[in-house]
Amino acid sequence: MSDVRIGIFVCHCGKNIGGVINVPEVTEYAKTLPDVVYAEHNLYTCSAEGISSIRQKISEHKLNRVVVASCTPRTHETLFRNACEAAGLNKYLFEFVNIRDQCSWVHMQEPEKATEKARDLIRMGVAKARLLEPLEEVEIRVTPSCLVIGGGVAGMSAALNLANQGFEVYLVERDKELGGLLLNLNRLFTINGKAEEVIIPLIERVKNHQKIKVHTSTEVKGVAGFIGNFDVTLDQKGEERKIKVGTIIVATGAEVLKPVGQYGYGDKSNILTQLELEERLNKGMGDEQNIVMINCVGARIPERPYCGRICCMVAIKNAVLIKENDPRAKVWVLHRDLMTYGTEFEKYYQKAMEKGIRFIRYSLDKPPEIVGNNKVKAVKVYHQLMGKEMVLPCDMLVLTTPLIPHEDNQDISRMLRVSLSEHGFFLEAHLKLQPVEFATDGIYICGCARWPTDVPEAISQACAASAKAVIPMRRGYVRPEAITASVNEDKCSGCGTCVLLCPYNAIELQSKDGKKLAHITTAQCKGCGTCGAACPSGAISMNHFRDEEILAQVEALVI
């Protein structure tokens, strides 16, 4: 260890610190600490002259460690780190000691105790600073191209937004053509426009955009690497292709639940799902006079507790289409709550009521029953709000089922090393802070693959995902904080304890000349330290929070 030359800057912060803690005395004390070659106190270290003083003293006293004792690192650490960097000192050779928010401000009536505490805290800070090592923020180049998995309305919208900003997009779609779920929809609720009117122009714009390379009937076979450098293997009808992309957007959508075994679906000819009804509406309805719809089929039940969010609207839209097609038809919608939230949907619900569609609320413990053996003739329902059994004549029974995740979400999640939520949809990093990002950097999520959504919400999420993907691609590099974990391969015995602990799946066992060793992808590691604390051989060391540094602080606590 070259000779350590620590400089310490104690801040008065006006009266905030100086008014309680005897700053000059504490500064003198700091001078007595081993390896401290310079110590000063100033009125406002964070002010312009405070910063310039730090930079000046670093070169003047050839300091190779800096400790600032002032407010809280949460707001000012970046400021002082940049000051050190500007003076040519690696910014991780800096330690922050909080003697305001966690000392002077909270021990105002006990100045001597506060001063003693400040001395202890500074001693601990210096003890850690002495062992700090320079760290380089590894700059990872980001390839300015994006892989969009899924060619539905979400995938295409994301691709278009990216391409319009000049980025190269690989749009991969499993089916023969683009369009996804919207292809077999007849009309879209709220504006009642024909599904084609939305999806066809979208497909045209995608196909004609030279920045978008469309790969239909293609599947993603494998993804390796990390943000900025994903090596993707595509499988186009047996023929494999390798591409390199910087970011990935998952827009694989979802599928409609086929309620096999419920209400006689499958063995009675006049029972359809809403999707099948859409096709019937496209081709033209028969002369059915009595249509009964049952909502929440296969949803909000113990096995599948979630609400499908848009199925109520699909049901109401189809009911309105039936009435517009044949006003004499009698349409009943049996529901357990009508989820027409927001301004547009509630207005559409009123329109349905105007058209004479009648809504009956049933309860989970008294579900409707089907009458009729090979064809449904009637539906018995216990009207929950009237407390009375009703028998509705029924020529056609439509079951409203929720969107469910594709089975192969499991494979995609394992391939991209992203996690699924308990319902089987993809799990975003944070519902509010990062709704369209995965915990793994560089991979984003939008559309029904994340949660059942309607078309406008899917397009919003697609644009949001594109915005998030554009950030690293526009900057050209990512510089994750250097606080990451690293494995010392001479100490690692490959016991595997750390692998499952990492919430970001950044650790895996790789075989190296016959032996299994833990390997951490620095780009994916967020530096939480959970693996470091658990490693029984002490083989994982946490940059900037190494065991030795923390133990030095602990030992410095008691003189």
């Binding site: 905030n16 979630y306 949001a464």
Partner: protein
């Protein structure tokens, strides 16, 4: 300011749009009417469905926006006019005088401590007081106080000047004037959020007449640790800590006499607030009157289920007719029909909370005329082609996100904010 975006409104949506645009390398000017960014979310104690504290989510984003090199914060400011068209907008912004020099102030808070004059705190929804010189809430960004000239003794009667005397940084400047700032921008994002429906016109619910009938936002402030009662659910009439409360959904929503639309989030925040009550005092009993329990988002249904199983919350399907006052103990008595049994009954509780609707910002008409964009029949921003361009407005180059577009929860607002940033980026790189 060549590649620049003007963002109006500093709530969670405005902040998110600003951060995304700035991270994409564009210059951002974020204009916020109140002294600090943070918006409505800053007033919330906890947020559904994760019940994590609102400030834990919001503070990191506020700090990032406050310190971002590409973001220029103009708080305590209003947009006066916008000329030009997409790619070449010119906006005039009035930066109201804070009477405090932002450069010099270090946010030490001595002036607030020493100021003897008090006023109703808007942040605490009128439930608490603040000083004449104030910062809306402890974690405000910028952490620079503002002198409320209507309640400051110096501006009213020319005496006091306590803040100036105690300010070490010499930052108090009484004769600071409003400033007009010119800002150029290629795209504009409107994110001015929402206001809350004042339930007074619904006289049957007795808001304003019965002390222990309060709105959901007032409850949120009571329950918040930084609120007027430091988090203790003390009811207004006698300060008694409540343990038997009721929530009424759809107050001002799905009602011909106020707003016919559904405000999307009240079912969820109603349950959240009931859970907060139980968390503050285990054993608290909550009753929630609803007609459709719209828990449609991720983990919302489980949230409701847990509320019922673990937090002593009872859901009754029925919209209360009116609230009467039991004079002896100031308890509100709620008359309702339990529509699943057809019985008309009354329930006396210690505190009744009205889950008020989300309505467009009160100055939306003015904003719409300044930006010359159209509003829909409810007063929210109109999206001409809602299906394929959900965040566009009727004027090219101007985008809208968050609740100013239509009522939605925080996750959807954040998604729309990023979407608006993406659309703006398209415009800024030459698209339309």
């Amino acid at each position: 300011m060549n590649n620049s975006v003007l963002i109006i409104g500093g709530g969670i949506a405005g902040i998110q749009a600003a951060i995304d645009s700035a991270n994409m390398g564009f210059q951002v000017c974020l204009v916020e009417k109140s002294p600090s960014i943070g918006g409505r979310m800053a007033q919330l104690d906890k947020t559904f469905p994760t019940n994590d504290c609102a400030m834990c989510i919001l503070a990191p984003k506020m700090i990032e926006a406050g310190q971002h090199a590409n973001i220029k914060l103009l708080t305590y400011s209003e947009v006066l006019s916008v000329e030009g068209e997409v790619g070449k907008f010119k906006a005039k912004i009035k930066k109201k005088a804070r009477s405090v020099d932002e450069e010099k102030c270090t946010g030490c808070g001595i002036c607030i401590e020493k100021c003897p004059w008090k006023a109703d705190s808007e942040f605490d929804a009128g439930m608490g007081k603040r000083k004449a010189i104030y910062v809306p809430f402890p974690q405000a960004i910028p952490n620079v106080p503002v002198i409320d000239r209507e309640h400051c003794a110096y501006f009213l009667k020319g005496k006091c000047r306590a803040c100036e005397r105690f300010c070490e940084a010499g930052a108090i400047n009484y004769d600071q004037e409003d400033e007009i700032i010119e800002v150029e921008a290629k795209a504009i994002i409107l994110a001015t959020g929402f206001d809350l429906y004042d339930p007074t016109p619904l006289r049957e619910y007795g808001y304003g007449r019965i002390q222990n009938v309060i709105t959901a936002m007032e409850y949120e402030r009571l329950s918040s640790a930084s609120g007027p009662t430091a988090g203790e659910l003390k009811r207004p009439s006698d300060g008694k800590i409540v343990s038997d409360i009721a929530f009424i959904q759809c107050v001002g929503s799905r009602d011909v006499r106020s707003n016919r639309y559904c405000s999307s989030v009240c079912c969820m925040y109603g349950t959240k607030e009931a859970i907060l009550a139980y968390e503050h005092r285990p054993g608290t009993k909550s009753t929630i009157f609803y007609i459709d329990l719209r828990a449609v988002g991720k983990r919302f249904q489980e949230y409701i289920q847990r509320a019922e199983d673990e937090y002593n919350i009872t859901y009754i399907r029925g919209r209360p007719g009116n609230i009467e006052l039991n004079r002896r103990n100031q308890n509100p008595t709620i008359w309702y029909e339990d529509t699943t049994t057809g019985e008309t009954k009354s329930l006396e509780v210690e505190l009744a909370i009205l889950c008020q609707a989300l309505i467009p910002p009160r100055d939306i008409q003015k904003t719409a005329s300044i930006l010359s964009i159209e509003l829909d029949e409810y007063g929210f921003v109109k999206t001409p082609d809602g299906l394929s361009h959900p965040v566009d407005t009727t004027r090219a180059g101007i985008l809208a996100c968050g609740c100013v577009h239509s009522p939605k929860d925080i996750p959807d607002s954040v998604v729309q904010a990023s979407a608006a940033a993406a659309r703006a980026a398209e415009i800024l790189s030459g698209g339309t």
